[in-house]
Structure formats: C-alpha cells, structure tokens
C-alpha cells in the first residue's frame, strides 16, 4: 500500500491545530454519553473515529458543531499569525433523513446553504456556478437539477461532500459517509477525501464502521467508547487488544506496523 505510506507522511501534518477539545463531556439526562474527551485535531490530518454502536461518535460531532450542550471547552478558532478567526466547518451527515418524495433539488440545497436569496425566488448565477464547480470536483455535475429523492446512496453522499466543501472548510466532519454505498463507491469516496485533504490541507474527522478501509486511508485512528480509549496510527490501534475485543480481529496484514511506540490506550478511559 504505497498510498498509505504517503498518507502517513508526517510532513503533511502541520503543527497548526484546528480544533481543541478539553475535558469535553455530554450527558442526556442521567445518561452520560461522553466524558473526559481531550483531543487536538490537526490540519492536513485524516483522523478516523471507530467504536461500537452507541459509543457517542455522532454525539461528539454534534458537540463540535455546537448543536448540543456539553461540559468542558471546545476551541473552534483557527489561530493564524495575524488573528483568530472562527473555524469554517463542513459536515456530511450519516444519512439524510428526508422524505424521498420531497421536491428538493441538488441546486436548492446549494442555494439555500450559500446564499440568502430565498430558493423559492430562484437561484443566482453565482451560486449556480459555485454549485457546478463543487459538483464537478466529486464527479457529480450532471446531478445538479436532480431531486434528492432520486439519487442513489453513493450519489447523495458525493453531493453532500461537495456541499460540505463549499466553501472549503477548515474542518471536515464526515459521519459514516459511506453507509449504504457500494464497495467501489466506498473506495472512490475515501480516495477523494484523502486527495482533498492533501490539496486543501483540511483537518478531516471521519466516523467509520469499516475499520479496515478507514485504516488504509487514515493518518490517525481513535477508538471511542464514551471516552477516547485508544489513539494512534491505524496499524497499531487496530491491533490493540481493546479494539480487537470489540471488532474482532481485523485484517490488517496489509498495514505495516509502525516503528512508533504503541498507541496511547487505556481501558479506564483516562488520558494516559
């Protein structure tokens, strides 16, 4: 896997830190979903989050997006040399729960996101060009007038990715972006994300159920179950006992063990 070696090139990851989570916790009522999350997410790094169902993966995203209340601190500023500015975030949801009969076209979605001109009064040509440009980058230009309900799983995910990349975000959050996509589509999607991250120097945080493929493309892997239990290179994390206990043995033979010290892992969930 030459590709992986390139991905793992530490030279691609700059020191700049995009998002910092300090001791973040989320509770729904008495149910503690996340606790003691300390994370630094770096630009140019593709980090995959794995974990069992109900581990709080999507909740973590919703906290980062500021959609739900949390304890602790989440720094979402980009500290440039000159000034601090708010981070731009792109987000691709796990699945878009919408009525398939809904009369929403792909262009409607772009127009509503990018402009304040109400979509029922038509689309500006600027927005339309932006949409065409974005869709071209994910090979979906022909879908611009399609209704969302008529798109296949893979097409919809590509459209949502194009939307998340307009304008180019600092942090890209992908929540199981390939659920319901066929195998060749999955490979295509990962290659695309990996490429984009390199081109635009994005920080990418990706929730994945498919550890094997995420392991091949990610620079870093986090095993989450209420807390970050394991954090390191995919090759090491996937061989870790806690991870193996949850997912079973994953075929990681094509991932060479790194020479780095073993990943930071702790069953108690405390930061080591």
């Amino acid at each position: 896997m030459k590709d992986n070696n390139q991905n793992a090139n530490p030279g691609l990851v700059c020191g700049a830190c995009c998002t910092r989570l300090e001791n973040v916790g989320v509770s729904f009522g008495k149910n503690e979903v996340l606790k003691g999350i300390n994370l630094h997410i770096h630009c140019g790094q593709l980090a995959a989050i794995i974990g069992p169902n109900g581990a709080g993966k999507t909740t973590l995203f919703r906290a980062i997006l500021g959609e739900i209340p949390y304890t602790g601190t989440i720094h979402n500023e980009l500290s440039d040399v000159k000034s601090m500015r708010k981070l731009t975030m792109g987000y691709v949801p796990q699945r878009l729960d919408f009525d398939a009969s809904s009369p929403v076209s792909v262009l409607d979605l772009f127009s509503a996101s990018l402009s304040s001109r109400p979509v029922w009064l038509g689309h500006s040509s600027i927005v339309k060009n932006q949409a065409i440009h974005a869709l071209e980058s994910v090979d979906a230009k022909h879908l611009i007038h399609a209704r969302l309900g008529t798109l296949s799983g893979g097409q919809l995910q590509r459209v949502l990715l194009a939307l998340a990349l307009t304008p180019i975000p600092d942090l890209l959050l992908l929540d199981e972006p390939v659920s319901g996509v066929d195998p060749s589509g999955i490979e295509l999607f990962y290659r695309m994300v990996s490429e984009l991250r390199r081109t635009y120097h994005l920080a990418v945080l990706l929730i994945s159920h498919d550890c094997a493929i995420a392991g091949r493309y990610a620079d870093r892997m986090l095993f989450l179950n209420q807390a970050v239990l394991c954090d390191g290179k995919p090759a090491d994390v996937l061989r870790n006992d806690i991870v193996v206990k949850t997912f079973g043995s994953i075929a990681v033979t094509d991932l060479p063990r790194t020479n780095e010290p073993s990943p930071v892992c702790d069953i108690t969930g405390k930061e080591v």
Binding site: E67, M89, P93, D108, S113, W120, R147, L173
Partner: protein, 279 residues
C-alpha cells in the same frame, strides 16, 4: 378598498354584487397563498400534526379569553398558541418521547380543557362558529389586519426562508452552516401558530389544517424543485379558494369546508399529474 369593490361589482355575476362576497373574495386572495407557502414548510418540517394541534388548541385560547373577560378572544388565542408553540418546541428538544406523542398529549389536553371551560352551564353552542368558521363575516378592518400579517409573513419568508429550509433538511447540517437551529425552529413554530390562530374565526378549527396542508401536498406530487413546490402550491390554493368561495355561495355551504373539497380535487389530479411528469 373602494377600488376593489367597484372592480368586483363590474363582474357579471350575482354574487359579485354583494359586499360580503367582495370582502370574502379579497380575503381569500390574500390568505390562500399565505396558507400555501406556510403549508409547504409545515410539511417539509413534518409538522402537519403540530399545526393541527395548534388549531385545536384555539378552544382553550378562546376559553381563557372568556375567563379573562375579553370581548374578542383573538389576543388570548394568539398568546396561548404562541406559548404552546414554544412549549412544544422545547418539549421536542428535551423529551425522549417522539414528537407526535408529545403533540398528541398536548392537543388532547388543550381541547378537553377548552371544551370543559366553554361548556360550563351548557353554553357551548355560542362558540360552535369557531369550529366551522365564517369567512363571509369578515370585515374590511379585519382584511387590513390580514394584509399586515401577510406583509410581516412575506418579510420573514424572504429573509429567513433558506434557514428554515436547511433546518428542515437536517439540523446538524444547518448547524455546520452556523444557523441557530432551535431559534429557527421556534420561530417557524410561532409563525405557524400565529397564522393558524388568526385565521380560525373565518376558516374554522375543523378544516384549517386541510387548507394549509392540501395545496402543498398536491404540489409536492408534481414539483421537481423548491421553486415549483411553493408556486404550484400557491396557485392550487388560490384557484381552490376562489372556486370554493363561489361554490359555497351557490350551494349555501360553509366556505372553509367547500374550499377544502376543491383542494382535494387538486390533490387527486396531482397524483395523476405526477405520473405524467415522470416524477
């Protein structure tokens, strides 16, 4: 107003000569596109049941108005509907129960409470006009109020539509675009509540939701984009509204319900139209 009445009275129809029909026609032309626009987003937000519940809760609003001793319970109704809209929005956020359960409980409670208060001493019949509504009783002053409501509504619909639309698609996606999700949802629920409540005395509690939902549902069957969705819906709503009004005059029936039947015809046609358009 004078221009309008003289304009309508030139129409060569019997009904066009009556002041109450001239007023009602103007009211229909103002309010039906409003209902249609609102209905489109009510359906996109999956809030059809919510708007129905708000309509029914008007009973409690009227009851509160009566207890407080208001001659016109409109303001009590509006205030109560607003509280309810905000309350349901909060419950939807924090309650583990599904939102139709929450709304169902709230609706049963408010309807029962309203009936209990209003039926004290057996006087409920006085309020039955709210159940069916009387569009023909609308006065010019009330039409002016409708115009003001329409202007406010359109302003919101132009400035905030995209936000409401994105929130209806996916809240996290909207959040990633820095849209304040809960405020937007609360605002939309409040607008819906206000418009439903203000219109109840003319349209009637029992059919108001149909007037909001049906044109949008019919349009949904044929529209391929949001622009088509809203405009088709408005067109259907206006045509059904005017036809229903005139038909109700000749058949001496309740106007609101007659309009609903015309909307229903459009709905059936839209099922066929959708097939033809290949949607």
């Amino acid at each position: 107003m004078l221009v309008w009445t003289s304009l309508v009275s030139t129409l060569p129809f019997e009904w066009a000569q009556f002041g109450f029909m001239q007023n009602a026609l103007l009211a229909v032309l103002i309010v039906t596109p409003l209902f249609a626009f609102l209905g489109c987003m009510v359906i996109n937000n999956q809030m059809a049941f919510f708007s129905d519940a708000i309509g029914h809760s008007a009973l409690t609003g009227i009851a509160i108005g009566v207890i407080v001793g208001l001659a016109n319970p409109l303001w009590a109704m509006a205030l109560f509907a607003l509280l309810l809209a905000v309350g349901i929005t909060i419950l939807r956020r924090y309650s583990a129960a599904s939102s139709d359960t929450v709304i169902g409980i709230v609706m049963s409670f408010t309807v029962a409470l309203g009936i209990v208060i209003l039926s004290r001493g057996g006087g409920f019949n006085r309020y039955s006009r709210y159940l069916i509504g009387d569009l023909l009783s609308i006065t010019p002053a009330e039409i002016v109020m409708l115009c003001i409501v329409t202007v406010v509504f359109l302003t919101i619909w132009v400035t905030l539509f995209n936000r409401i639309f994105l929130v209806s698609i996916n809240t996290s996606l909207a959040r990633s675009r820095k849209i304040p999700v809960w405020i937007t949802q609360g605002l939309f629920a409040s607008i819906t509540a206000l418009i439903v409540t203000l219109s109840i005395q003319w349209v009637g509690i029992l059919v108001i939701n149909a007037l909001i939902i049906l044109p949008a549902t019919a349009s949904r069957n044929v529209a391929k984009s949001m622009k088509e969705y809203l405009w088709f819906s408005a067109l259907i709503s206006v045509i059904a509204g005017v036809s229903g009004l005139i038909a109700s005059y000749y058949m001496s029936t309740a106007t609101g319900a007659t309009i609903v039947l015309f909307s229903m015809i459009f709905y059936v046609c839209s099922l066929i139209g959708g097939k033809i358009r290949g949607r």
